[in-house]
C-alpha cells in the first residue's frame, strides 16, 4: 500500500476553489487532485470555466477563495515546474526567431533572471525537438510553420522546462484529426513520466486518450473523477452525446 502511494503520489491539489470575475461566478467550490500517473481530461461546455481552472492550477489566476497546492507548496510563486501549452497561440508571424530559440525559452524556467543558455540547455532542447519530431526544422523562422508544427513547438517548449506536470489547453481547436492523433499518442508517451491535464470541449475524441475525466460546468460534476461516464457528460452539457 505504501509502495503504491509512492508510485502514484499526489502532484497537485485544489481545495475549495472559487473564482469570480466582477461578481460573476466562474468556478464554484472545486476540489480536485492530480496524481502522478493521471491523464486527466477536463471537459465542459463553452464558458464552463475550463481555461480558468487551468490558469488557477498554473497560478496565473489567483482564486477568490480556496487554495492550490503543488507538490505541497503554494503555486503563487513562479511555476517553474509546470509545462503549459496554450490554447490560442497568437504571435507575430514575422517575429525574427527560430524554432529552436522558441523552445530554448522553455529553459528560462531553470535559472534566474540573468539566465544564459549553456550546452546542457541546448542538449535538452534538441532532445525535446527530437521527441516531438520537429528536429529537422529547428532552424526555420517560426512564421513559416503550419498549425500542427507550431503545436509541436509549444509542446517541445513545455517539455524543455522539464515539468512535473503538463497542461494542455484545447488541442483540438487548431489542428486536424490526423495531427491530433499524432499529438495525443505523443502525449501518451510523455504521460509515462509526468501527469497531463488536458482541457477540451471535444469529449468524443478526448475520451479515447485520457484515463480520468473531470466534467466542469462552474462546479465539478463528478467528484471522484471516474473514467468516462455518459451520464455525467450528458448532465454537464444538458444534451445527449455519443461516446
Amino acid at each position: 500500500m505504501k509502495k503504491l502511494n509512492r508510485v502514484n503520489s499526489e502532484i497537485l491539489r485544489l481545495k475549495n476553489i472559487c473564482v469570480q470575475y466582477n461578481n460573476a461566478t466562474v468556478l464554484e467550490n472545486i476540489n480536485l487532485s492530480v496524481y502522478k500517473t493521471d491523464f486527466l481530461g477536463v471537459i465542459g461546455p463553452n464558458g464552463g470555466g475550463k481555461t480558468t481552472l487551468l490558469k488557477v492550477m498554473l497560478g496565473l489566476i489567483r482564486p477568490t477563495t480556496g487554495k492550490v497546492e503543488f507538490l505541497g507548496n503554494n503555486p503563487d510563486k513562479k511555476q517553474k515546474h509546470m509545462g503549459y501549452v496554450p490554447q490560442n497561440f497568437y504571435f507575430d508571424r514575422t517575429f525574427p526567431i527560430s524554432v529552436r530559440d522558441v523552445v530554448l525559452m522553455g529553459r528560462l524556467a531553470r535559472g534566474g533572471l540573468l539566465k544564459k543558455f549553456n550546452d546542457n540547455d541546448k542538449k535538452i532542447v534538441d532532445n525535446a525537438l527530437e521527441k516531438v519530431g520537429i528536429y529537422t526544422i529547428k532552424d526555420r523562422q517560426i512564421g513559416q510553420l503550419s498549425g500542427g508544427q507550431i503545436q509541436r513547438v509549444l509542446i517541445a517548449r513545455a517539455l524543455a522546462t522539464e515539468p512535473q506536470i503538463l497542461f494542455f489547453d484545447e488541442p483540438t481547436s487548431n489542428i486536424d484529426r490526423r495531427n491530433l492523433k499524432l499529438i495525443c499518442s505523443l502525449l501518451k508517451i510523455i504521460n509515462k513520466n509526468i501527469p497531463i491535464v488536458i482541457v477540451s470541449h471535444d469529449i468524443e475524441y478526448i475520451s479515447t486518450f485520457v484515463n480520468k475525466i473531470a466534467c466542469l460546468n462552474k462546479r465539478l460534476l463528478n467528484k471522484n473523477l471516474c473514467g468516462v461516464n455518459k451520464k455525467t457528460i450528458e448532465f454537464a452539457y444538458n444534451c445527449s452525446v455519443n461516446l
Partner: protein
C-alpha cells in the same frame, strides 16, 4: 531636367566646388564639433540599433512616440530653470514611460488613448515652459528637429553612460526580454513580465534622450524604427537584427551628416530622409526578390 541636375551636380561647373566642399568635410574632422557630431551619431546608432529592434518586434512604435514627445516638457523645464535640458528630458521621458506602462497595463484604459494623452501633455508642458522662459531660445528648434553639429562634449559623455547602461541591461536580460516580446503569457510563467516591460520602456526613454540630440523630438521614432525595420528584412535572429541596425544607423548618421554639411541643410531631417529613402528601397528590393523567388518556384 533631372539629367541636367545630375550633370550639374557631379560633372558640371560645380564639380570642383563640391570636391572642395568634400575636402572641407574631411578637414572639418579636425574640429571638435565635427568629431562630437560623428561620436554622437555612432553612440545614438548603438542605442537605437539595440532598443529600436525591441520597439519594432514588440510593435510599440506608438509608445516610443509618446515617450519621445513628452520629453519636450523636460526640455522646456530645463530652459525655464536654466539647467541642462538633457537632464530634464531624461526625467520627463522616464516618467512618461512609467506612466504609460503602468496605466495601460493596470487600469482598464485603452493603451493607445493613454499614450495619446501623455504625448500631448508632454508637448503642451514643453510649449508652456518655453513661453514662460525669458527671451527667445533659438536652441529649442534644435531640440525639436535635432542638430548633431551642436552636441557639446559633456553631452557625449552622458550619451556614453546611457549607452553603456542600455548595453549592460540588454546583455544581462536578453533572453527574458526575448521571451517577453515573443510570448507575454509564457513570460508570466518564467519571469516577471510586467516589471521587465517597464524596464524595457525605461530603456526606450533613455534611447530617446540620446536620440533627441541627433534627430530631435519629432524625428526620434523614425530613427528608432527605420534601421531596425531594414535589419528585420535580412535576418531571423534578434541579435543579428540589432547588429545590422546598429551598423545601418552608423551609416545613416554619418552619410546624413556629410550630406547636410556639404549642402548646408538641416542635419536631423537629412539623416531621417536618407534612412527613409533607404528603407523604401529595401522594401522594393525585398518585394522584387520575393516575387522572383515565387516565379522561380512556380517554374
Amino acid at each position: 531636367m533631372f539629367r541636367e541636375f545630375v550633370n550639374q551636380l557631379f560633372f558640371g561647373k560645380e564639380q570642383n566646388e563640391k570636391m572642395v566642399k568634400l575636402r572641407y568635410m574631411i578637414e572639418a574632422l579636425q574640429y571638435e564639433f565635427m568629431r562630437n557630431a560623428l561620436a554622437a551619431g555612432i553612440l545614438a546608432s548603438i542605442a537605437c540599433g539595440i532598443v529600436g529592434s525591441y520597439v519594432v518586434v514588440k510593435r510599440i512604435v506608438f509608445i516610443s512616440g509618446g515617450v519621445s514627445h513628452s520629453a519636450y516638457g523636460g526640455i522646456g523645464l530645463g530652459c525655464l530653470f536654466d539647467f541642462n535640458p538633457v537632464l530634464g528630458s531624461t526625467l520627463f521621458s522616464l516618467a512618461a514611460a512609467l506612466i504609460i506602462g503602468v496605466v495601460s497595463k493596470e487600469s482598464s484604459q485603452r493603451e493607445d488613448t493613454v499614450i495619446g494623452v501623455i504625448w500631448a501633455i508632454g508637448m503642451s508642458l514643453g510649449i508652456i515652459f518655453i513661453s514662460m522662459s525669458p527671451g527667445y531660445s533659438a536652441n529649442l528648434f534644435s531640440y525639436l528637429f535635432g542638430n548633431i553639429l551642436t552636441v557639446p562634449t559633456s553631452d557625449i559623455f552622458i550619451m556614453l553612460v546611457l549607452d553603456s547602461l542600455i548595453i549592460t541591461v540588454v546583455f544581462l536580460l536578453y533572453n527574458h526580454f526575448l521571451a517577453l516580446c515573443f510570448d507575454e503569457e509564457f513570460a508570466l510563467l518564467v519571469s516577471y513580465p510586467q516589471k521587465l516591460y517597464l524596464l524595457l520602456l525605461c530603456l526606450i526613454a533613455l534611447t530617446v534622450v540620446i536620440l533627441i540630440r541627433v534627430v530631435g523630438v519629432i524625428l526620434v521614432i523614425a530613427m528608432l524604427t527605420i534601421p531596425a525595420a531594414i535589419g528585420a528584412q535580412f535576418t531571423n535572429n534578434l541579435k543579428k537584427m540589432m547588429f545590422i541596425s546598429t551598423i545601418l544607423g552608423i551609416i545613416f548618421t554619418t552619410v546624413g551628416l556629410s550630406i547636410s554639411y556639404i549642402f548646408n541643410i538641416a542635419s536631423g531631417a537629412t539623416i531621417i530622409l536618407f534612412s527613409g529613402i533607404t528603407y523604401l528601397i529595401s522594401i522594393g528590393v525585398s518585394f522584387l526578390w520575393q516575387r522572383r523567388n515565387f516565379s522561380c518556384n512556380k517554374l
